[in-house]
């Protein structure tokens, strides 16, 4: 892990954040548990839940800790990376 220090990391920004995804999953579980969701919507919720879940798993499976060092004196990215 330490060996990767200083390497430019890939940003997760732009995708749905993991926190949003987990929050949405909880929401979907809650909605489905209420049992008052129209059928059509429950199908959509199921599909969305599975999709988000797979996305979350993918994020967790692709873990490869990235560490970069940023010099406080310089602007981000200007410190010779």
């Amino acid at each position: 892990m330490q060996g990767r220090e200083g390497k430019e990391g890939e940003s997760m920004a732009g995708k749905m954040s993991f926190e949003d995804a987990m929050g949405r999953l909880e929401e979907i579980v809650r909605r489905l548990e209420e049992g008052e969701v129209p059928l059509e919507e429950s199908i959509k919720l199921y599909e969305e839940g599975m999709k988000i879940g797979k996305m979350c798993r993918k994020i967790l499976d692709e873990t490869d800790q990235k560490i970069r060092r940023l010099s406080a004196e310089n602007e981000e990215g200007k410190d010779g990376e």
């Binding site: 892990m1 330490q2 220090e5 990391g9 890939e10 940003s11 997760m12 920004a13 954040s17 993991f18 926190e19 987990m22 999953l25 909880e26 979907i28 579980v29 489905l32 548990e33 059928l39 059509e40 429950s42 199908i43 959509k44 919720l45 199921y46 839940g49 599975m50 879940g53 979350c56 798993r57 994020i59 967790l60 873990t63 490869d64 800790q65 990235k66 560490i67 970069r68 060092r69 940023l70 010099s71 406080a72 004196e73 602007e75 981000e76």
Partner: protein
């Protein structure tokens, strides 16, 4: 009169007159409740270590003094050996002892004035920040549950950055760590940390900042009690977790940070979730969604229809409706066609039959005349052949019947022969060979059976087996030749 007091003097109620003990108690209660937890800066004078283990002294400044005591139990906890002339900050409570009428400071803890000054500065800064609302619980931001970018502000050397990256790598390797190295003690440390926060604020979409430093003396940690650093923490664009020093150390940044951890490692643990736990939660969510979805499996057929008709599949739904409409239309048209056909069917069929009949009749007549012509021509052209053919046919027929007839005749002949043989012995002419004769009239018509049949002179024929003799009767001879028995 003994009583010379003015009425005004006694006009007060009896209850408003204190005894000495009462007023002493009142003073004690007021002082002790008002000053139960105070710090006093002063110089030690009249120091006396009593044999009981208690320390007695006075705290004084330019104009005044107050008596003070450190009881034995607290003496052992002092971080230094106090002496006369020491400038100290004494922390404790005011006690008023009625027996001697003395007011004194019961010292709980005491530090030397250098540190005492720091302590005061610390308290004043915390108080100031508190007054500004920077330490308010309402101001504290929550730490994102699943951070994807964690900024770490700490020294590039030492165990702290290693402990933090290892902890984060173990718990939540999902996150990227951005380490902003800083000085954490000594000259320039404060500005280094402030600049680090400025840099952190410019980082795009970070989730949390960890400000950390390992354990050290109060002086070592003093950077984190500076107003500049505290304000940098308070104004951070991202939530800040502080992990400075050991468990017991409390610095000003801990008051203004969003979350205060006991140690750098603890700060890392608070910054990120455990990936194992997150996986478990995620699996639980998914299995619950699956189960909840499967629970409604009795509605699967309805679901299918919903899917087909849902706005998620507009084209399918539309096509389904179109197909149904088209099917209905065709069904109607087929019914109509069938109805028409059935109505017209009879006429049509009989028409066909008539035509067929006519055709057959015509064909039959044609065949007949053709045949007649052919037969006629045949007979006309080949009469001999025709006759011989007939003969042949007849011959065949005769042969067949002949065989049958002959078979029949031969059978009858054999039958007859047998009968004739039987009859042979009975044949009347057969006895002629044995000498018998018979007589008939001359015209052979009648067999004579009596001697009286012919008169004398009449003729008769005597028949032998080989011919007859025409004879004339001379006379009758009397007497019978054969006598019947």
């Amino acid at each position: 009169m003994k009583c010379r007091e003015t009425p005004e003097f006694f006009s007060q109620d009896q209850d408003d007159i204190y005894s000495v003990s009462e007023i002493t108690d009142a003073i004690r209660q007021n002082l002790e409740s008002e000053f139960h937890d105070i710090s006093v800066l002063g110089e030690i004078a009249n120091f006396k270590a009593h044999s009981s283990g208690h320390i007695y002294f006075s705290l004084r400044d330019e104009n005044n003094l107050i008596r003070a005591v450190v009881f034995r139990r607290r003496v052992t906890e002092l971080s230094f050996g106090p002496e006369n002339g020491d400038s100290v900050i004494a922390k404790g409570r005011i006690s008023h002892y009625g027996g001697s009428g003395q007011t004194q400071l019961i010292v709980r803890n005491m530090v030397q004035a250098g540190r005492g000054k720091m302590e005061l500065d610390f308290r004043r800064l915390v108080g100031k920040l508190m007054d500004e609302g920077l330490t308010s619980p309402q101001r504290k931001r929550s730490i994102p549950a699943y951070p994807h970018r964690i900024v770490v502000i700490t020294s590039p050397t030492g165990a702290v950055i290693r402990d933090i990256t290892e902890t984060l790598g173990r718990r939540w390797p999902v996150a990227e760590i951005v380490h902003i190295p800083t000085k954490v003690q000594g000259d320039g440390a404060e500005i280094s940390i402030v600049e680090a926060f400025n840099a952190a604020n410019r980082i795009e979409s970070a989730d949390v900042v960890i400000l950390a430093r390992g354990g050290g003396s109060v002086e070592d940690l003093w950077t984190f009690n500076s107003e500049e650093v505290a304000r940098a923490v308070a104004s951070s664009a991202y939530p800040v977790i502080t992990g400075v020093g050991h468990e017991v150390d409390k610095t000003v940044v801990d008051f203004v940070s969003d979350l205060c951890a006991a140690t750098p490692t603890a700060a890392a643990e608070l910054a990120a979730p455990s990936i194992t736990e997150v996986r478990r939660v995620l699996s639980e969510h998914l299995s619950r969604i699956k189960k909840l979805y499967a629970d409604s499996s009795e509605n699967r057929l309805i679901m299918l229809e919903y899917m087909l008709r849902s706005s998620a599949f507009p084209a399918l739904g539309h096509r389904l409706e179109q197909a149904e409409l088209m099917l209905d239309d065709r069904r109607v048209r087929l019914d109509e066609w069938w109805e028409r056909k059935r109505e017209g069917g009879k006429n049509e069929i009989s028409g066909v039959m008539v035509s067929l009949e006519r055709a057959l009749e015509k064909r039959a007549r044609s065949c007949e005349s053709q045949l007649s012509r052919k037969i006629g021509r045949f007979l006309y052209e080949n009469p001999g052949k025709r006759v011989s053919a007939a003969k042949e046919a007849l011959g065949r027929l005769l042969r067949i019947t002949g065989i049958r007839t002959e078979t029949s005749i031969s059978m009858r002949r054999r039958d007859l022969s047998a009968k004739l043989r039987a009859l042979d012995g009975l044949h009347p002419l057969r006895v002629l060979r044995r000498g018998y004769t018979y007589c008939t009239t001359v015209d052979d018509e009648i067999v004579l059976k009596s001697a009286k049949s012919v008169e004398s002179g009449g003729g008769m024929v005597v028949n032998f087996y080989d011919g007859g003799l025409l004879c004339r009767v001379e006379r009758e001879r009397k007497g019978k030749v054969w006598q019947e028995k």
